[in-house]
Symmetry: C2
Subunit: 298 residues, 2 copies
């Protein structure tokens, strides 16, 4: 725990605000918590049971509670008890609550209609409803990037090497495909090899997608084609405060294992976690990592 210093004032986090973090898996909740703590604004962490594994110790150093998804009816009560005024939803939540296991209580009954509606949606639809629910209860949602601005992908080549001319048809095809499935709230990522999209992200997530591409390398339709790219971008209707497309060092590892030449993320609308390690790995593999704005494509 850091010592409490004079809180910085910030447009998004006024004096007296207290930030809660709903922490899923991965590094992002840790980075947000550390950043807040460094600014003298000790956060409260709501650890989603079963989702946080690798970074549990680090998160447990902050004021925290653990909540099972099935006790979601208690969520607002817990946050209010800890004085939370602003909320960051950070990290991957790989499960959805099982309806049969949800604990019925008064808190739940209040959110039940929204919850049932939300659970039939894709990620984006679900999150919009959840956000509305929080805001109706006086808790303001802020993005992880509002607290740690340098996690946003810049509009530039991050690595020593950039895409070759021959990679651009892959980049364009995968970017269009990823935007399109994003519009349908299905996934955020696509892989193109040899100028055509060969695989699209569904609920398996980006790691699962890259695993599949690795398995498809021997596929006859690829006819031994090399290189290829992963493109990950925000949905056109993306709620920018939650669930931004995210890559990290393990994305580079998996993309390399899948034989891809590079990874493209949408600049200013994607998160690069542990970017030093992302760049170091990509450079080691001779891969490119590129932050691209949609407007840069033809």
């Amino acid at each position: 725990m850091t010592t409490q210093t004079t809180p910085e004032t910030d447009e998004r986090l006024p004096a007296g605000s207290k930030v809660g973090i709903i922490a899923g898996g991965g590094m992002l909740p840790v980075e947000v918590a550390k950043s807040l703590s460094a600014k003298g604004k000790a956060p409260f962490i709501l650890i989603v049971e079963g989702e946080v594994t690798a970074h549990l110790d680090e998160l447990s150093q902050f004021e925290h509670e653990t909540l099972a998804l099935e006790r979601i009816g208690n969520l607002v009560t817990v946050l209010q008890r800890h004085g939370v005024t602003h909320l960051v939803m950070a990290g991957e939540i790989r499960r959805r609550p099982k309806l049969s296991a949800i604990k019925i209580n008064l808190g739940l009954l209040r959110v039940l209609p929204e919850l049932l509606k939300a659970l039939t949606r894709g990620d984006d639809g679900l999150l919009r409803i959840v956000i509305k629910g929080f805001e109706a209860r006086g808790i303001t949602i802020v993005g992880a990037q509002d607290i740690v601005p340098d996690i946003l992908a810049s509009q530039m080549v991050l690595t020593k090497t950039g895409p070759r001319k021959s990679d651009w048809p892959d980049i364009e095809a995968a970017f269009v495909a990823a935007k399109t499935i994003g519009r349908l709230d299905i996934g955020q990522a696509a892989v193109a090899i040899g100028s055509r999209v060969i695989a699209l992200e569904g609920i398996e997530g980006t790691a699962g997608l890259l695993d599949r591409v690795k398995g498809l390398r021997g596929h006859g339709r690829l006819a031994g084609r090399q290189r290829g790219v992963l493109v990950k971008c925000a949905k056109p209707q993306q709620e920018l405060r939650v669930d931004l497309p995210t890559i990290g060092p393990e994305t580079i590892e998996s993309a390399h294992a899948a034989g891809l030449a590079g990874v493209v993320v949408e600049a200013n609308r994607s998160i690069v976690l542990d970017s030093a390690s992302v760049i170091e790995k990509a450079d080691r593999y001779g891969m490119f990592v590129l932050g691209l704005r949609r407007e840069e494509l033809p």
Copy 2:
């Protein structure tokens, strides 16, 4: 071999025409060949090396030659030598020729610019270019369904049981998604479970897609949801004479193994192979199979 009888006249196959079949994998080339033979129009079969395995003996009963994809430059010459005037492309071709293995000859040099252009496209783009090439050389492309009309999916519930009311959100979501990725020439199929699309077809094909869905059944984001549907439909820009979406008995087996409640194909723009067996299997598993027109969806 059937005995040659007086050829039936047919708008698409005039007297004196001879049909060639480029035979990929699966039952379709066999059904087309048998149907032609029964009509007294003995076909010539071009067996694509490595693609035809299960039905090689049946196809070899007809006048035939085997050609490796890499000898594609000889294709038109071979067809012309056998007097082919009309051509059916039937069955799945899972490979693409390896550029490095393509045999250079005069025939190839003539088609090379088209071929190189075609190989960077999705299936649909590739086939359009191939068709143009044949037609420029005086060979007319006809659809398998022009020869065996009853393989087209009808606009009806084929099975004893139809979709439940609760299956319709899955059907709608997957239909829209399949059409959308079809427009991008990526794939023809999508799977929805619990009102949302969870997986999209890429180059792995429908069998690979269903295999993946089977593996995703335990995924936390499905939260134990049951049922779900596979929808397979034609691309909006579908060339109707080649590569129509196709299901067969093994599609039902795989969809059942993936825990799906039913399979939907686009009526009049999809092929149901061995429909007796498709229906028998689906009925045994309590699944529905539905031919649906796009206009029936809201």
